[in-house]
Symmetry: C2
Subunit: 366 residues, 2 copies
């Protein structure tokens, strides 16, 4: 190449401590979007409000030309058109999905990438067919260790040209609840969520659920593609780091009252008020949610409703007798594995899994 | 009130020339979202990709309790439930809608508000019932000058607590193509687009198409509510300014090749390439689109397809024999009224109607 792609694709970096959001981060924020927090009221996130992160472009996939290829270390390589996928057993699952980078823009110093605050989450009813029986039909060889999933989305990232690719270990890929998905909330999968077919790995951060899926390959060595190296919790670039897998616990509250357009600060009239929100964890069901109105000085237990679906969020409520004054509202989730949300930021180089508690300023007026 | 709402709701401001995006602007960018530019390929923008700007919260409207009230200077005040709206004559229209603030974040200095770059646009098929016959049924009095539309969305903005409200003059409200809309792209209006009922004013910037519509009132004096004062092109806060109405012409191109994740710069392999995009104007049909690959030094005419709908965008294409090198691609629309996109920024205090030509850096490699 005469033009060095390095001139347009730079290494990752961490912002200076006093550095505001860059024009590059703004470009990502204008394309991608989070869940407006008042939409936490919906059990199932309506189409268009679910968080969305697209690494490259939304690809145009012709459903007639589409083939899902299953190959590599398998006895019987497969090539399925979309009707052959539809003809397989059909199941639906309600799953809460969260971006591994959620909370990144609240870290100090801030890793420079998609600048999520706390809103990169959503819950959908996904419909498709289980992956494991398809892998059994193909016959994954005994010496296969990983299954690699390739999307149709193509781009360059930190200097590496690639189609988006992620792997699961063979045991993870054979989990009963991993699906190949072609519907979202009862309608055809939207282009931006992976049309015509995507992977869904319940309980894991969103990076595992490869969109625009075209190829599934069983391989003999641990897959070390770009996205496997990128999505790791590390303190410095040269650390091997720990791969991101299951979603850390988080509670979010529906900001009470009404907002100021620009500051998004909340104004609430004094009196009894039901604070409500959602909580979720990929590690184990949420076991408790606590609420604070004083920025985390003191906490009170919220009423936690049983989660209606294993991989979906739980609703919680808390009755607040709100008196005139200024407050900082937070919610904090714990799960059955003993994990809970930190009160100090869990800083890491990529800005992943920052489940530091949310803070919502509220001015209570008469 | 004991708590001054002025502590959370500040006057508008313009950023310092060297001021990067603030955390407040980022909060808005994380909630609202533009059209990912590759989605300009779709004639009709798929649900969830259409631009979205919500001033306050998406309100929860109970469709059973919903009433559309028509009152003020009318002979027969009306109160319609949603079924009564559905029972009226049904029409569908394909309309391109753009936010008046589109382009704001490219202005120097930058007015501080929702920081759109160029992507706050979308084209949908909207279905509903014409407004004019409803106003005729109510009998708008001869001394009415404006019709005020009130939404259910409530908040505070620059110190003014309000439900979102905009007006049209009686002649504008009586235009045949102004609709009360309850479906988008053949499905129930999504919550974020105004469920269960919104106004649609084809050709005007989006601020006129009041979402979550609950009341239509005919009034004897020109309506001077907050949103009528805010959406004006002015050079200084104290200027009376010019109200925003029809959409200025704009062309956008689908960025060619593939992107770098972070910089969104494009990489394209050398060879023949069809550059495509869309162009629109509320003032008159688009009459020509020109394309530049050298940042606006030279321009070549694109092939403009006839617009399939009066208020929808036009597709255009341009064949580029791309040689290895670095380029800056732009497109520029003219319309039948003689308006065209400026090459110098049309700066104004609110950051409105900035239709300065788009610039897309492209590195062509072998």
């Amino acid at each position: 190449m005469t033009i060095e792609t390095s001139t347009v694709s730079k290494p990752s970096r961490v912002a200076d401590v006093d550095e505001a959001i860059s024009s590059e981060e703004l470009q990502l924020a204008a394309r991608n979007h989070g869940l407006p927090l008042e939409a936490l009221r919906f059990d199932i996130t309506p189409p268009g409000l679910h968080y969305l992160l697209t690494h490259y472009d939304i690809p145009v996939v012709d459903p007639k030309a589409f083939r899902l290829v299953v190959d590599g270390l398998v006895d019987t390589p497969l090539s399925l058109d979309i009707d052959a996928v539809f003809d397989r057993p059909r199941v639906s699952k309600v799953v809460t999905m969260e971006c591994a980078g959620n909370g990144r823009a609240r870290l100090l110093p801030r890793p420079v990438s998609q600048p999520w605050l706390v809103e990169a989450v959503g819950t959908a009813e996904w419909t498709g067919t289980p992956l494991a029986p398809l892998l059994r039909d193909a016959g994954v060889a005994g010496d296969a260790v990983d299954v690699v999933f390739t999307g149709a989305d193509h781009g360059i990232e930190r200097g590496v040209e690639q189609n988006y690719q992620r792997s699961l270990s063979v045991p993870d890929a054979m989990r009963d609840d991993v699906l190949l998905v072609y519907e979202m909330n009862g309608a055809q999968l939207p282009p931006q969520h992976g049309y015509p077919l995507r992977l869904l790995v319940p309980g894991w951060y969103g990076m595992a659920s490869v969109k625009w899926l075209t190829r599934i390959s069983a391989v003999a060595e641990p897959f070390e593609g770009y996205q496997m190296r990128a999505y790791r919790v590390r303190q410095a670039t040269e650390d091997p780091g720990v791969p991101l897998t299951l979603i850390e616990p988080r509670a979010l509250l529906v900001p009470p009252g009404f907002p100021d357009y620009m500051s998004r600060a909340r104004i609430l009239h004094a009196g009894p008020n039901t604070v409500e929100g959602r909580a979720w964890s990929g590690w184990a069901p949420v076991s408790a949610v606590d609420v604070s109105i004083d920025g985390g000085e003191t906490w009170a237990p919220a009423r936690l409703e049983p989660a209606p679906h294993r991989w979906g969020w739980s609703r919680w409520t808390w009755t607040w007798e709100a008196h005139v004054g200024s407050y900082l509202l937070s919610a904090r989730a714990r799960d059955g594995s003993g994990r809970s949300q930190p009160v100090d930021q869990p800083w890491n180089r990529g800005g992943y899994a920052n489940n530091l508690v949310q803070q919502v300023p509220v001015a209570v007026i008469t």
